[in-house]
């Protein structure tokens, strides 16, 4: 009996893989945050899903539970099953490079990593997130009532700290324009030191760090630590948005965290879904070429999410100023941190 069942199931399996192989397939390997991290893994996956809907391709993902899984997960996607493999996260840089070198015919793309020199079969996707975070910092400085803002990160790595750089510079720019004295706790762009939870998964840490910043007077906080920020959001939810507002990162968090949508002042968008979709399109059209895609305000790769429930609370003048700054950054007349 078992034999029959097994052969039957094997047949189903074989049939399944045959159909899968016939269509164009995009595969994603997540880092340890998981596919539903309300952060970059999820956003990148949205790019795959959008492509599935628009181009009719197949998509699948593998979740990594540990760093040792990166290479193994990449290996298990080899053998022609995937037309393009998308890896997510700075920490997967080494594993992706190793795998790409061993399998030169396989197309890869990595979110949040730029190789120098570039690798012929890998497209790095990086983002000028500081541009969007600059706008968020300016906005927050204009909205704060205590004159204190806060931010913290997951791990002190460039894709994280670039948010914090932009945020601080944006707030400083507000100070110099309006002659105010808004301070940002949690990050010092000069020394490149600040507050870090040391992980991308502890919601408890997100809550505790936000609590600390709130106790120090911050009324708007930008957590840059993937799902850790959900912990901060739940604190804001309990305290009420008059006491504490959160600025989301990566995706529009009113969409990824709908239960607490009202606590998000805005989100600093890192449109990984857009760049991932662009890479998939290129792979489908045979225009895929190793190198770098940089998401900017100009090409829409980064941006600021709508204010949603704060739409009326944000003064029209502030909105106008932000639009002006955005234009200035795009035309190059304003440089961040300059």
């Amino acid at each position: 009996m078992t034999f029959l069942t097994k052969t039957g199931l094997a047949a189903v399996l074989v049939a399944g893989s045959v159909t899968a192989a016939s269509a164009f397939t995009a595969c994603q390997v997540t880092d340890t945050g998981g596919i539903d991290d309300a952060g970059f893994n999820q956003t990148a996956w949205k790019g795959v899903q959008d492509s599935m809907a628009e181009y009719g391709i197949e998509g699948r993902f593998l979740e990594s539970q540990a760093e040792a899984d990166y290479e193994a997960n990449l290996n298990s996607l080899l053998g022609g099953a995937c037309d393009v493999i998308i890896t997510v996260g700075f920490l997967m840089g080494d594993a992706t490079a190793t795998s790409a070198a061993a399998n030169p015919d396989q197309k890869y793309s990595i979110v949040d990593y730029a190789y120098d020199p570039t690798i012929p079969n890998v497209v790095g996707q990086v983002y000028a997130t500081d541009q969007a975070a600059f706008l968020a910092g300016y906005l927050a400085a204009g909205m704060t009532e205590t004159g204190v803002l806060g931010t913290f990160g997951g791990i002190n790595i460039p894709p994280v700290t670039v948010f914090m750089d932009g945020f601080v510079h944006g707030a400083n720019h507000y100070n110099s324009v309006h002659g105010t004295d808004v301070t940002v706790l949690g990050w010092n762009p000069e020394s490149q030191e600040g507050l870090f939870t040391g992980n991308f998964d502890s919601l408890d840490d997100g809550r505790a760090f936000a609590q600390n910043l709130y106790d120090e007077g911050a009324d708007i906080i930008m957590p840059v630590a993937g799902p850790v920020g959900l912990g901060s959001a739940s604190l804001a939810n309990e305290l009420g948005t008059d006491e504490l507002k959160i600025i989301g990162v990566d995706a529009d968090q009113t969409q990824t965290d709908p239960d607490r949508a009202h606590v998000y002042l805005t989100s600093v968008l890192k449109r990984m879904d857009a760049t991932v979709q662009a890479v998939i399109k290129a792979a489908m059209d045979d225009t895929f070429e190793g190198g770098l895609i940089v998401g900017t305000l100009e090409n829409g790769g980064v941006g600021l999410a709508p204010f949603h429930s704060f739409e009326d609370a944000v003064p029209a003048e502030l909105k106008a100023e932000i639009e002006e700054i955005k234009a200035a950054i795009i035309d190059g007349s304003l440089t961040i941190g300059g």
Binding site: L9, S17, R60, Q65, A68, E71, D94, I155, I157
Partner: protein, 382 residues
Amino acid sequence: MMDGKDLKHVNEDMRKLLARAAFGRGDFEDLFVVPVFAVVAALVLGAVIMLATGVDLPTIGQSFVALAVGSFGSLNAVSETLTAAIPLVLAGLGLGLGFRAGLFNIGAEGQLLLGGTAAVIFTFSFPSLPFPVLMIFGLLAGALVGAAYASIAGILKATTGAHEVISTIMLNLISFRLLEYILRQPYIQREGRSDPISKSVPEAGQLPRLLDWFDPNLRLHAGVFVMLLAVVFVWWLLFRSKIGFAFRASGANPDAARYAGMRSGLVIVAAMATAGALAGLAGASQVQGVLGRASPGFSAQMGFDAIALALLGRSHPVGILFAGILFGGLEAGGRQMQVDAGVSIDLIGIIQALIIVFIAAPLLVRAIFPWGFRKETKGGKA
């Protein structure tokens, strides 16, 4: 004449006493039948859970085929299974040895982290040493640091009576933060990186991959030999050596061991150090064989999985080896389940946990599969 007869009689008696007891059916059931049924029961229950979470039947069947194929169904699968088993078995051996000595050491995670880090630092500090000298010294450095770190808990217990469960948990927490600090030191941190990540293990310090001549993606490395040697060594240590006898005696009955003149303090420190050395070796084999560097959390909870592993293997080296291969297979097969059937990796964690629960509760397994076992008679001696 009379004496001769007596002597013959005595010799006859002694021969009888020395005849090895046959391998009983009870032992066979405990060692083989129970684990097999436990795995079956866990898989069945796992299927029920999948059904409850809305996975359809063909997908469930597909995922179990994938589990089998992904764990033992191909050369790559076996390679992945063994690769995952290496650090688990090494750390599990240390924990099992501790359990035998009556020490509930929760600290394998920290010992593994620091041991692995020491191996990385040692190997990139002496890049001029040739292979295999650098590789072997790297492993030794890992073992030594693991032993030293575990000894702290041992010494605390021997001198002040501090319970090892508490002290090893605390040492784990310390090791997590300590590692982040170490990895940020300029000498250790990789050039051009601001996140905590170490420099790489040089080629000569790596455990060479064994099958890459066949397929560059096969990750099985020479650590598998380290693992097998460790199994033999721990078996010898526990069941053949003098100090191992003291370990086991102290674990089975500390009072009797004290009455027999065994020095409990010495036993505690020696057992903890040996356990730590094996955990350190696990960390070293992982960084020298798989990861090539140290980063925060590279241990990936292996030190905790190894606790379950040691319990599953009944703290016997061979049992731990098989349990490690089972865990490795679940890890590799679980990956295949994701690839082929799109079933969540979390399910593998659930099945793993179920297997442990069933093996830990042999009575439950006997109750579920009554036809698999000889009928039990109640009671003991008259």
